[in-house]
């Protein structure tokens, strides 16, 4: 029952309602100054970018197999069964590994704070559990951001491309990237032009696999390596022990007589 978002850039009118709805939902400041900021930050989880009169939204992709959750040493990030990748601020120690690991550069940091938190779009988990849409989807006046079942949205996106092949580039960004995400993007422009990483570059492999391949060997490595080290120790000290034992024996023989 995984939920997802479908953002159709061709339907977006750049009204930035999603930005303000998101800010309201997450209790972030939002005014003309924030609206004019063209980047995501600790106080701006989503941004609508403009290029040649065309718009593009950026937000956390809420990956199916999120890198941020797999790298967090204290498990402060996790993927919920409903779809959102959520953050537990209490657990966080502030190592910022999630920020460097994320292929989309989504987690942002409160650099000025003395007790800083990671900030990112968490796909309104409370609203989803309550049976509502995400704030951005609910407020969107044109339906450019659509909330729904992940499987349904994939079908819908495929249908839109099929019906209007001249409007859309023939791909759903987020369907396979890094093993699939919970945010899909349809567009007439290449998403790479708006700062999204190129599909070819990030690949279809789920990010946790890159480190998982090494981590899964550790449980086997520990006993094997311990045995090897113990063996080396035993062999290299054996000669001394034998010599000591022989000397001891001689001494006992000597005193026994």
């Amino acid at each position: 029952m995984s939920k997802a978002l479908l953002y159709d850039a061709t339907m977006c009118i750049g009204c930035k309602q999603c930005e303000s709805g998101c800010a309201q939902q997450n209790k972030l400041p939002y005014d003309d100054k924030v609206a004019a900021e063209p980047v995501q930050s600790a106080h701006k989880y989503t941004v609508v970018l403009t290029k040649d009169d065309k718009f593009m939204r950026r937000l956390c992709m809420n990956c199916e197999k999120p890198a941020c959750a797999s790298v967090c040493p204290v498990g402060a990030m996790h993927k919920t069964k409903e779809g959102p990748v959520v953050y537990d601020v209490w657990k966080c120690i502030g190592c910022r590994y999630c920020m460097v690991a994320c292929a989309f550069g989504q987690p942002k940091y409160e650099w000025q704070s003395l007790n800083p938190r990671i900030r990112k779009c968490i796909m309104c988990p409370d609203r989803i559990i309550a049976g509502k849409q995400t704030a951005c989807a609910e407020i969107c006046p044109t339906g450019a951001t659509k909330f729904g079942e992940r499987d349904d949205l994939i079908k819908e996106a495929q249908g839109r491309i099929r019906q209007n092949p001249s409007t859309y580039l023939p791909r759903i960004y987020g369907l396979n990237e890094v093993g699939g995400t919970s945010v899909f993007i349809l567009s007439s422009m290449k998403v790479e032009e708006y700062g999204y990483p190129a599909s070819a570059k990030i690949g279809d492999t789920a990010m946790p696999e890159y480190t998982g391949r090494v981590m899964e060997r550790i449980p086997d490595f520990i006993p094997v390596w311990t045995l090897v080290l113990g063996g080396i120790y035993w062999v290299s000290h054996r000669r001394e022990e034998v010599a000591a034992a022989e000397a001891e024996e001689k001494k006992q023989h000597g005193s026994g007589k």
Binding site: A42, A76, I232
Partner: protein, 393 residues
């Protein structure tokens, strides 16, 4: 007691004062005020140098413990204690450094209760915590001997085989895992440094640096504390270093060869310049030097070759952690002076603590009764000079 001000003592005081200023900025104004780290560059000098290089520079501990206690090479016995001391101080200071870099260091104990076994960082954290504890026990006999406590020495001797094997196991795990940290960033880290072989390269370089640092530290201690230099030991370490450098060089070559990058690395580019610098310092210069028997038998030659290779490996780790990300991010990251000053302060503290430990504890076996008058306090900062100059590279 009269305190004489010398040049290096003044330098030491200046470093500490600036470091304390930066500490205040860090803990009262936040990471944003003290560093040039940004959302695009969330890991800076403190991860690149204090963590990656710090742990590598402390590798001498497990290398020498491995050589002397595991492989039972008695000839190297005299360097074990200083190497273990360096490693112990290195890890303690690395944890101090981590307190600066972590955004919420007061929650570091969460590591022990909220475990995520999939995380490389979790593994590094647990290994470093455990290994620091192991090093503490390996270091303890120094203290017991100082106060002539025979009973605890006996206990420690009984568990020593366990400590040795555990220490080497933990070191193998976390030295290589520091490389694994970067495995999850294939699209961000430049291909010159991103390779599936990262854990092997990091472990290999730790061993080479462990040997080189032991040569460096023995030579420096001899100079600073007026000890006589044990040339045969250094020569033996130099030979091992040459082998280790060759193995590392071959690993690097194999890696570039198999990934078909040999053509790219010789073409001039921003990354290539840093790679050349790294390869020259790490391999070309020290391997050439050590290939001459004359150099391998002279204390000065061994010293220079070791320092050169250590600087090379430091360049390598900074390339992995900083330079390798600049093309992806699209701009340069240059640490703020306050970041440098915290790192310098930590390094200077390391040298000072090393000096104090040597003064009051039987670190150097042939000098069981350290002559207090001969070891003036500033000796600590005298040794500091060569490394301090490069701490921020």
């Amino acid at each position: 007691m009269k305190i004489k001000l010398t040049f290096w003592k003044v330098v030491f005081i200046v470093i500490m004062v600036l470091g304390l200023y930066s500490t205040v900025v860090r803990f009262f104004y936040g990471l944003g005020a003290v560093s040039n780290m940004t959302d695009q560059f969330p890991w800076g000098l403190w991860i690149g140098f204090d963590l990656l290089c710090g742990v590598m520079l402390a590798a001498g501990g497990f290398c020498m413990v491995g050589a002397v206690y595991l492989f039972n090479v008695e000839r190297l016995h005299s360097v074990v204690r200083p190497a273990v001391l360096t490693a112990f101080l290195g890890y303690v200071l690395f944890i101090v450094g981590l307190m600066f870099d972590l955004g919420r260091p007061w929650y570091i104990w969460h590591q022990l209760i909220y475990m995520n076994p999939h995380s490389v960082m979790f593994e590094v954290g647990i290994c470093v915590m455990s290994y620091t504890t192991v090093l503490f026990f390996e270091f303890l006999p120094n203290v017991f001997e100082r106060f002539n406590l025979q009973a605890p020495i006996k206990w420690i001797k009984k568990i020593y085989p366990v400590l040795i094997i555990l220490g080497i196991l933990l070191s193998t795990l976390h030295q290589s895992s520091l490389g694994s940290l970067y495995l999850i960033m294939p699209s961000k880290l430049h291909p010159f440094w991103y390779t599936p072989a990262l854990p092997f390269l990091f472990f290999g370089s730790a061993i080479a640096v462990g040997l080189a640092m032991t040569i460096f530290e023995s030579t420096q201690s001899a100079k600073a504390f007026g000890r006589h230099l044990e040339l045969p030991v250094l020569v033996e370490l130099g030979g091992a270093l040459l082998v280790a450098l060759w193995v590392n060089a071959l690993l690097r070559f194999e890696d570039y060869f198999h990934r078909g990058l040999l053509g790219q690395i010789i073409k001039p580019s921003y990354e290539a310049y840093f790679l050349w610098l790294e390869l020259a310092l790490t391999f070309v210069i020290p391997i050439t030097m050590l290939s001459f028997k004359k150099v391998r038998l002279s204390p000065g030659g061994l010293y220079l070759a070791s320092v050169c290779s250590v600087l090379g490996f430091i360049t390598n780790r900074l390339n992995v952690s900083v330079i390798g990300f600049e093309t992806y991010v699209g701009h340069h990251y240059v640490p703020k002076w306050t970041e440098f000053s915290v790192t310098l302060m930590i390094v200077a503290m390391g040298f000072a603590l090393f000096g104090l430990a040597v003064k009051y504890l039987p670190i150097f076996p042939e000098e069981r009764h350290p002559v207090q008058q001969r070891l003036r306090t500033e000796s600590a900062s005298v040794v500091a000079t060569p490394v301090l100059g490069h701490a921020g590279d």
